[in-house]
Assembly symmetry: C2
Homo-oligomer: 339 residues x 2
C-alpha cells in the first residue's frame, strides 16, 4: 500500500503561552503495519488540556513530545489494513493515534468499538478518557457523601460536567465554575448544577472566594481540581475539615501563570484541615474502565447523564482549535473531525 | 480544700519567633473539682511542637490559646481529690492538664495509668501522643511496603524515631534528617536508621537534596512530613511516582520562614507523580489508640522499640525549654518534671 498521510508535529517548545508556531503540518508516506499491527484511518481525534503539558520539556508523568514528533492524541479510526487476526478492515477502534490522518498501532494497544452502541465520538468524551477521569477521581479520591458540597471548575467541560452530574446523583450540592454566562447557564440548566459562577466576573481570587462562600454555605468538602490558579486560591480557605482534593489537572499553571498562593499556605491548609490531596492520571487506572462503562454507559444511553461535544473540522485546524480550547473557547468535549 | 497552684499563661502572641515574653507564670487559687471531676497534681508535662501553632491567632484545627489562658499540654498527674467514682486519690492519670502544677478535669476526659506497666513518662512519648502519631500516620497514610524508602526529619524526636523504627521493622530503607552530628549518630546507632543527614551541614535545600539523593538511590516513596521548610524543598523532587506524604507538622513554617518552594511547584509534583498527601492530627483518631498500645506496648517493653526522653525540671523552666526545643535543643521526647 502506498500513499500519503498528514500529521502535526511539535515544531518548537512554547516559552510560556503556546502558539500556532509551535506546530507544523507535514505530509509523509503512509506507514505499513508490522506483524500484529493495524493501519487506521482516523475519523475523530480528541483535544485535551493534558497535551499542553506534553509540549514542555522536563520530567512529568509521561515523557514530553519530542521536537519533530507527532503530537499525542486519542482518536477513533477505521481499520484500513490489518496485520492482526483481531481486526478486519472496516472495524472501528479507539487508540492513541496522535494528531494525524492515519496511524499504525499494535492491535493489543487499541480497543474495538461497536458503532451501533453509542456514537463513535462518545468514546473520546463522556464514555472515554475524560468521563472515566471524572468517575474514577470522584469515586477513588473524592469519596462523596450525600449532603456534602462539591466544587469543580471547567464545569461544562467533559470532565467537570461528568463530575458534577455524578455528584448530583449521589446527593451532593454541586457548585461549578466556568468561563462566561452562557457556560454557567448550561451548567445549571443542562447539567443540573445547583449553581455555577463565572470566573471572568471576578477580578481577584478574593472576589471569587466571596461569591463561592455564598453558594457554599456549609463550606466545601470536595474540590475536584482540574485547573489550579485563581480557582484553587479561592477554594482552599473554604475547604472543610477532612476535605478531599482529587488533582487531575492544573491547566491555569501549565503556562506558568503567577499566583499569590504560597507553598506554606497550601501545606498549612493540608495540615490544619486534615485534607486528603491525591494526584492521578487516568492512564494508570484502566483496570477500572470496565466498571466505569458498566455504570456510566446505561446512564448515557438513558439520558440521565448529559454530554456536549464541540466538533471542529480538519486536521489543519487542530492547532488553533487546541489553543482556543486552552483559553476556554470550546463548549463541551473538544473533538476534531478528520473525515 | 484551699491552696495555691502555678500555671503559665499566654501573655502575648509572637510576631514571628516566639520568645519568653510571650509567657507569664501566675499563682492562683486551687480549683475545686465539680461533680464528675478530679483535681490532679501534675508530675510530668509534655512539650510538643504543635503548641507553637496554638500561640498564633487564626483558625486552625484547634482554637488558639487565648491571651491570659493557660498554655495547652498533655501531662501525667496524681489524683489529689476526686469527685468521681472512677478515680481515687493516689491514682495516676493522663490528660490535657496544661502548663500547670494542678488541674481539674472531667473523669471521662482522662485515662488511668498503671505505674507498674511502664514508666509514667512513656505515656507522654513513645506510648503516648507522639508515638501514636508516628504509628497512625505511617500506617494509615504512609502505607509502607517492604523494599521502599522512607525519609523522616527530626529523626531522633519522639515522632521521627518511632516512624523510623516502625518502618525498619516493615523492611523499608529509612533515611533520617536531624540537627547536628550527635543526633545523626543516635539515629543510626540507637534507632537503627540506615542513614541520617545533618541538615545543618547543608546551606541550601539543593545541597541537602543532593546528599539525600545519594542516600536514596531508588528515590523516596514515603516522606513523613513533620517539619516543612528546607527539608520539604529538598525531598519533593526526589519523590517517586505514587509516593505518600503523611503531614503531621510543619514546624519550620510555624514561625513564617521564607521558602523558594511555590504553590504551583507543589501542585505539579502532586499531579505528575500521583502523590497522596494527607494532613492529620492524632486527636481525631483516638479510636485506634487501643490497637496502637496492643502493638507498640510489647515492643517497647521488649526493647525492640527504643525511646529517648529529655527531662527538664520545674514549671518555671517550661518556656525556655519549649523555645529551645523549637530550635532542636532537645534530644528525645521533651518532658518537664514538676514534682
Amino acid at each position: 500500500m502506498t500513499g500519503q498521510m498528514q500529521r502535526i508535529v511539535l515544531a518548537s517548545r512554547p516559552d510560556a503561552q503556546a502558539s500556532e508556531e509551535n506546530f507544523r503540518l507535514e505530509s509523509v508516506s503512509l506507514p505499513q503495519p508490522s506483524e500484529g499491527e493495524v493501519l487506521v484511518k482516523v475519523h475523530y481525534m480528541s483535544l485535551d488540556p493534558y497535551m499542553r503539558g506534553r509540549m514542555n520539556a522536563g520530567k512529568s508523568y509521561a515523557p514530553p513530545v519530542e521536537i519533530g514528533e507527532t503530537m499525542t492524541a486519542g482518536g477513533v479510526g477505521e481499520v484500513f489494513a490489518s496485520n492482526s487476526p483481531d481486526f478486519q478492515p472496516g472495524d472501528f477502534a479507539l487508540g492513541m493515534f496522535g494528531w494525524a490522518s492515519h496511524a499504525c498501532a499494535k492491535a493489543s494497544d487499541i480497543r474495538k468499538l461497536e458503532p451501533g452502541l453509542a456514537p463513535l465520538t462518545t468514546a473520546l468524551g463522556v464514555l472515554g478518557m475524560p468521563g472515566f477521569t471524572a468517575w474514577h477521581g470522584l469515586d477513588a479520591y473524592g469519596r462523596p457523601q450525600a449532603g456534602e458540597t462539591l466544587v469543580v471548575a471547567a464545569a461544562t467541560g467533559p470532565v467537570g460536567s461528568m463530575v458534577g452530574q455524578l455528584a448530583k446523583q449521589k446527593g451532593l450540592r454541586v457548585v461549578g465554575i466556568a468561563g462566561g454566562p452562557d457556560k454557567c447557564k448550561l451548567a445549571v440548566e443542562t447539567f443540573g448544577f445547583d449553581a455555577c459562577l463565572d470566573h471572568r466576573a471576578y477580578d481577584s481570587s478574593e472576589a471569587l472566594r466571596e461569591a463561592l462562600a455564598a453558594e457554599c454555605p456549609d463550606g466545601i468538602d470536595i474540590y475536584y481540581e482540574n485547573v489550579g490558579g485563581k480557582v484553587l486560591e479561592a477554594v482552599l480557605p473554604l475547604m472543610n475539615s477532612f476535605g478531599r482534593i482529587p488533582v487531575c489537572g492544573m491547566i491555569a499553571w501549565y503556562e506558568g501563570a503567577q499566583t499569590s498562593l504560597t507553598a506554606p499556605a497550601i501545606w498549612r491548609d493540608v495540615l490544619v484541615k486534615f485534607l486528603s490531596v491525591n494526584g492521578f492520571i487516568i492512564f494508570n487506572h484502566y483496570h477500572r474502565y470496565g466498571d466505569f462503562l458498566r455504570e456510566a454507559g446505561p446512564m448515557v444511553a438513558s439520558g440521565s447523564i448529559k454530554y456536549l461535544e464541540d466538533i471542529a473540522e480538519g486536521l489543519e485546524n487542530a492547532p488553533k482549535t487546541f489553543l482556543s480550547m486552552l483559553q476556554g473557547g470550546n463548549t463541551g468535549k473538544q473533538i476534531v473531525k478528520l473525515v
